[in-house]
């Protein structure tokens, strides 16, 4: 497994082209930044780290080939994949080849909960956890009773929305007045917005990512609708505020605890600015954390053996932009607390 060579190879896999490239490319940059840092400090286990970057276009069928390629390249671990679907199809191959995988973004709950993939870890919360947090917040904190649940029909967005609806349905005095998927990439959302308005919903809980969210919020606010907007960590991204601008004010979104002030996060973002001349994109910090966790585990394990790395991942804590994290038995990150944020004066502010 990569030993005996003079470098340690790490795979980075995800959507690097096609419609979902914007979720995959930031993780490449994150991995590059972390590896640059480590290599500058002497690498891992005394060897330089080499990245093997492979595109899977978020397609399960391509992902199996990508995985086979990475296995052939003898990587010791993989950062990725980006989409849950592609991850699931690739995991079988990594599992049989004893390669640990850390995804920055694959949020589908069964990936960890099913126990099918002992080699899988992630630096992001599964869909259900956030859904619960958001529902509790909406019902208990804000005291809402009529809620519209929307999603983007994707595995992440719909997964989240399904859980949100399930939790809402368990509550007695809350009514889900609209439950629907919206068309990603559509040129206009006024039909669904009108529908929400007509339903009398006090709030929208939205499962999906920031581009759609900012279109929705933007169009709602121009129409003078002030329906509360609550979403997931796909939206808890600074890009959302920058794109939606004024309309973002007041929007709630759940996300990992306390990231903006985390010095590592600040540094990562600054490094990105310095190197690439722009702000990082989606899941950048998650990928940054994943890479650090993997390298740290290798270092701590003192070996590139599968068992050693996996043990280290489960036992060793590591300082990342997401906080001081480790992984539980199933592969979900420990130490990434989740809380609800609100956009206030153009920044996400954590609500304690």
């Amino acid at each position: 497994n990569g030993q005996g060579e003079d470098t340690v190879k790490i795979g980075v896999a995800g959507a690097h082209s096609g419609d979902l490239a914007s979720y995959g490319l930031p993780s490449v940059k994150a991995a590059e930044l972390v590896v640059e840092d480590w290599n500058a400090k002497g690498g891992v286990l005394g060897k330089q780290i080499e990245l093997v970057i492979e595109d899977d276009q978020c397609k399960p069928e391509v992902a199996t080939n990508t995985a086979a390629k990475l296995v052939g390249e003898q990587v010791v671990g993989v950062i990725g994949h980006i989409c849950s679907g592609a991850t699931k199809s690739a995991l079988g191959i990594y599992k049989d080849s004893n390669i640990p995988v850390i995804s920055p973004s694959a949020t589908n709950p069964p990936l960890t909960k099913s126990g099918d993939y002992p080699n899988f870890f992630r630096t992001i919360a599964p869909d259900d956890a956030q859904a619960k947090l958001d529902v509790d917040f909406a019902v208990d904190t804000l005291g809402l009773t009529k809620i519209a649940v929307l999603h983007d029909k994707g595995d992440y967005g719909k997964g989240f929305a399904d859980f949100a609806k399930e939790y809402l349905d368990q509550r007695s005095n809350v009514e889900v007045v609209v439950y629907e998927g919206i068309q990603v990439g559509a040129v206009d959302y006024s039909a669904i917005i009108n529908k929400v308005a007509a339903s009398g919903a006090e709030a929208i809980i939205y499962g999906g990512y920031h581009p759609e969210a900012s279109k929705l919020v933007g169009q709602m606010r121009t129409r003078g609708m002030d329906t509360i907007f609550i979403s997931d960590d796909g939206v808890k991204d600074d890009t959302f505020i920058k794109v939606a601008q004024d309309a973002a004010e007041g929007v709630y979104a759940s996300g990992p605890v306390d990231t903006t002030s985390n010095p590592l996060a600040v540094k990562a973002t600054e490094d990105h600015q310095k190197k690439f001349g722009e702000d990082p994109g989606a899941f950048f910090l998650n990928a940054y954390a994943a890479t650090q966790a993997l390298l740290n585990a290798i270092e701590k394990a003192g070996s590139t053996e599968y068992d050693a790395i996996v043990n280290a991942l489960r036992s060793e804590y590591v300082e990342t932009p997401l906080g001081n994290i480790s992984f539980d038995e199933k592969g979900d990150a420990i130490g990434v607390g989740f809380s609800v944020y609100q956009v206030q004066n153009g920044v996400y502010v954590e609500l304690k």
Partner: protein, 302 residues
Amino acid sequence: MNLDYLIQLTLSGMTRGSIYALIALGYTMVYGIIQLINFAHGEIYMIGAFTALIIATVLNMTGMPGVAVFIIAMIIAVVYSSAYGVTMEAMAYKPVRRAQRLSALISAIGMSFFLQNYVLLAQTSDFLSFPKLIPQFAFLEGARNFLTSTQIIIFAVTAVVMVALTILIKFTKIGKAMRATAQDKTMALLVGININQVIAVTFLIGSAMAAVGGVLISSHVGQINFYIGFLAGIKAFVAAVLGGIGSIPGAVLGSFVLGLTESFGAGYISSDYEDVFAFIILVLILIFRPAGLLGRAQSDKI
């Protein structure tokens, strides 16, 4: 439900319809003249939007008034999209004009991949926000629930473009040359039409309209990335076929039917199946009118 809701859905359907129409017109013109499903037409629209975004952002920093920025950005986007359209035709379609018809389609698909990735690499994969250049019109304050200023502009521009195009096709010399070329290329040659030039002009006009669409939508939606052309292109293609591909009024009608179907489908039934409604309407219409709403039945004389 109530009347307000109906009006709202109608207006939102018309917004979509107008936008589809601007893209579908280019599709239909190109199809009409060289029977090519120009898969890369959506990319021209995307490039128009990107060019406008870049120019607008640069100009915005100079403190120019928003409306002026908008107009200049629109003009430059139109120029660039047209240039891309014409170049694309010359490079990728003209050499395959005499080959089997599907070759040009594959060439168009290749072009679409190329242009998407070109923008992805040269710019970014992320969504960029389009500067807000059009203020909310004061007189619309009362009708905020129904209409926004960008919607009004979209309607107005679409109407103007459509009328201009109709006049161009029906009454000008180049318009007639376009129709003649579409109907019989050899004969067009024989009456002295330079068909290469006519085809180039068709691409130019189609691309220009796509750019107009691109700029309008981007300012309505507020953000763009390199991939927006794909879905818009498919939708416009559906609209063009629905109306009868090759027919200019058909493209407009098809777009509105499509926009309204989606809007009513989403509004009264469920947006989960928004596209399903669109495609079911398409299938139904084509079953009863196999050449689309305003298409000419291709009854070949036997």
